[in-house]
Symmetry: C2
Subunit: 488 residues, 2 copies
């Protein structure tokens, strides 16, 4: 049999089942872990098939942060003096979802996120419980609550009262995602989930329009897995599949660093082969750690025409997604001596010009006279009053760039560390049921995480913690749904 | 049988064939007409099924213009003093194709477009043969050759020597597309093509992984059509299908006017149901007739931050696609008394402000002081020397906006006439063969026109005549390919 994700195999062509289970989960990132855990607790026999040697996926590359709020706020938010209504939370999620937010998922998540946070704690995910103010990417120590999106930035605050919502696992330094998955890995196994590692999903198996199993490759051998209740696709996105990127999101190929482990789109392809539709396949998250230090947020970004393109106090990923959309191969962050600092080495920013006047910087960068310098002059003119009438950067980040020497830091998507992952994928109901081309659930097929286009589905609206929140929360729903399905 | 485009029907479930033919073509726009004509001439029995009462489709809404060049140039180009190399033509098409141009189609078309133009003439498509200089949307009389893209604009001219390539059918006024289809309609029938009108493709019929027919709805009855050599999908794009627009190209829903007839995406869905993949589904063409008069090209467009966003001498659709991508709900065209004129009534532009100074216009529009006015000041400063160092508008369009009174014309995507159609769709080989999820041709399935993502596949690179050229040229190839296929 020549199994491949792009073709569904008919059950009639399967000679014998090598493995039988109620639920087969493909992928052991956080979506797969949560789906498996809930399915097992609901009484289903569950096997996770993970292509790598163990759990992790792209979730383990993350900071272990979840975007959580609503319902009055979590205890952490409340202890820090913040309340957070479900309405404000939903309004923010809706703006973050771009021109086609998933209203049903937003409504469900906005109302249940606080409970989901408590559930994570019950599983043993540790949170220190404190609030770390300031504008950062991830806590450098083991702090919990941070501002992790564009809540306080224009235009978001005009429709949703700001509250910090990034809840980060207690972990010293960046990279708490590994620990987060480890906690759930242990829980899943304790709940009876069988884990088959080095086992890659090769193709779904269908029968009379339903998904009834999956062919898995392990130890050089194809195993026919019967999944009596269904298959959950949780294999991540497609940022590592260059052909899929070309077909759907070629703009991202301007950027240097796909942020994934396997993320070959195989789950999406398997879904499509079973008749599923895909949505928003052009959307991607991208960022570059241009801050910290937060003083740089007081700088201004310009594109190759010398013009600003965003209020720089937005979430770093929103700034950089907009940067990637600019004409030209790079953008520059302008800073004066008062605020200048080097971004982290890993960002790959280049000190492109330094001068005693903005005209000197302009000339050194080969900008036309009166372009860059006039942009700064216009900015400074209003900045003396703490105002930014053009892009509405908040007053706390606005001060004139007037103290020489002046500098321009170049950020080049193809050379600096612009990391990206995909936000398009299968369309699912909040239950995790995968929709076919006609919008009808495909019996036996479920998906979660970046194999789907979920809460995060618009690069310019992304906020840290949205993908893990979506993956874990709707992963759980997928697990409950598939477990509740009668055996086929 | 509950036939719908989203589900392929198994031939095993077909009781009897109502119609048998070699080739079934769905859609009688220019793609379907050319496919049917070539298939019939190659000896195949061909039936076109058209959902409307007769030929036309979105092709008949067009100006009847084709983007043609290369091979030294057409006789029309040469008579007007232009030569056009295949290399320059291919280079332009490649830029127009955006970040993922179809190299194979470009190579084929660039080398054969002149012959294709001669073929059109042989079919009886009339061309007056003259060149109409200037910057226009479509000839108002029956002229032939016009500048119909961004050939002379930055950055296109830097990589491709400019030549006018828009070849328009001889027809008084706009709307020659109707006549163009009429000519081919007559030819197709003369070649023996059977035309079934009011006959809508409902679902493909498959057998062992090949497409062997199609269910067609006519006079309230489903007809099972056996297509011995194959089916050609030529039903247009999906701009009239609001759900597909939401899923794939929600940005276009900001615009007022879908430009289509049926264009419900049914051909794309039928292809997907047969296992085809879709590409670049987020891309769309959009324009608004903001010129003529061409003097307005000497104006400058600004967005809500008071900044320019494009060189205004680009193709009108490139300007307007970029306008739709700006933040805010409208853009403004600034003009002084020397160049001011009203755009055509149909454009739906609004005279938003008039003033004796740019500061007055700025204030009337509620822009922050020093935004709009400074943009004009910067523009004027260089314009006195005929230069535009920021956006590189060509010197002939650059003069200071210095003669009062001054005016701002507002163009609002949701209210002015911003018409759009889709550029994403099935991926095909130059032969018209439709590719499945793995990139392998699906036996018996062909597509052409806007059911596919072809030469035009990037809104910011569109040029008038690209879609008709692609639809007719690759429609012909699809017809030849399907006819050459042995009966199944």
């Amino acid at each position: 049999m020549d199994a491949s994700p792009e073709r569904i195999i008919s059950a009639a062509d399967i000679g014998a089942w090598d493995i039988e289970t109620d639920v087969a989960v493909l992928g052991f990132g956080i979506a797969g872990a949560c789906a498996a855990l809930e399915a097992a607790r609901a009484g289903a026999a569950v096997t996770i098939f993970e292509a790598a040697g163990g759990s992790g996926g792209a979730s383990a590359l993350s900071g272990g942060e979840m975007y959580i709020g609503g319902s009055g706020g979590t205890k952490v938010q409340n202890d820090a003096g913040f309340t957070d209504t479900t309405e404000d939370f939903a309004a923010y999620l809706s703006m973050a979802g771009g021109p086609d937010p998933d209203a049903a998922k937003i409504a469900l998540y906005a109302g249940e996120a606080v409970k989901h946070f408590e559930w994570l704690q019950e599983q043993g995910v540790p949170y220190k419980g404190n609030f770390l103010p300031g504008k950062i990417m991830e806590p450098e120590a083991d702090d919990t609550l941070i501002w992790s999106g564009s809540e306080e930035a224009y235009p978001f605050y005009t429709k949703s009262k700001p509250a910090p919502r990034g809840h980060t696992i207690q972990f010293m330094g960046w990279g708490g995602g590994r620990k987060l998955v480890d906690v759930l890995d242990v829980r899943a196994r304790a709940a009876g989930v069988v884990v088959e590692a080095n086992a890659r999903g090769r193709a779904l198996i269908g029968e009379h329009g339903a998904v009834v199993g999956v062919v898995v490759r392990q130890n050089g051998r194809d195993l026919n897995v019967r999944a009596r209740r269904g298959v959950v696709l949780a294999t991540g996105g497609f940022c590592m599949n260059r052909e899929m990127m070309r077909m759907h999101a070629p703009e991202a190929l301007r950027c240097s660093t796909p942020l994934g482990t396997i993320d070959d789109g195989s789950g999406i392809l398997m879904g499509q082969a079973a008749g599923a539709r895909v949505i928003h396949m052009n959307e991607f998250f991208v960022t570059c750690p241009w801050y910290p230090p937060e003083s740089l947020v007081k700088g201004i970004f310009i594109n190759q025409t010398g013009q600003r393109f965003i209020n720089e106090d937005c979430y770093h990923g929103r700034v950089m997604r907009t940067a990637v959309a600019q004409a030209g191969d790079k953008v520059w962050l302008l800073a004066d001596n008062a605020i200048f600092a080097r971004p982290m080495e890993m960002a790959g920013a280049e000190l492109a010009a330094v001068g005693e006047s903005w005209e000197e910087v302009e000339s050194e960068l080969d900008f036309a006279p009166g372009t860059l310098s006039r942009t700064v002059a216009q900015y400074n003119e209003h900045a003396v009053r703490g105002e930014d009438p053009v892009w509405h950067k908040a007053a706390k980040w606005v001060q004139p760039l007037a103290e020489p020497p002046f500098a321009a830091l170049a950020f080049t998507p193809s050379e600096s560390m612009f990391s990206y992952f995909t936000l398009g994928g299968l369309e699912t109901l909040p239950s995790g049921e995968v929709l076919d081309l006609a919008g009808t659930p495909i019996p036996g097929l479920y998906a979660a995480g970046r194999t789907t286009s979920g809460l995060p589905r618009w690069g310019a609206g992304y906020s840290s913690g949205l993908s893990l929140a979506d993956s874990s929360f709707f992963g759980r729903y997928a697990g409950k749904s598939v477990a509740a399905r009668g055996t086929v």
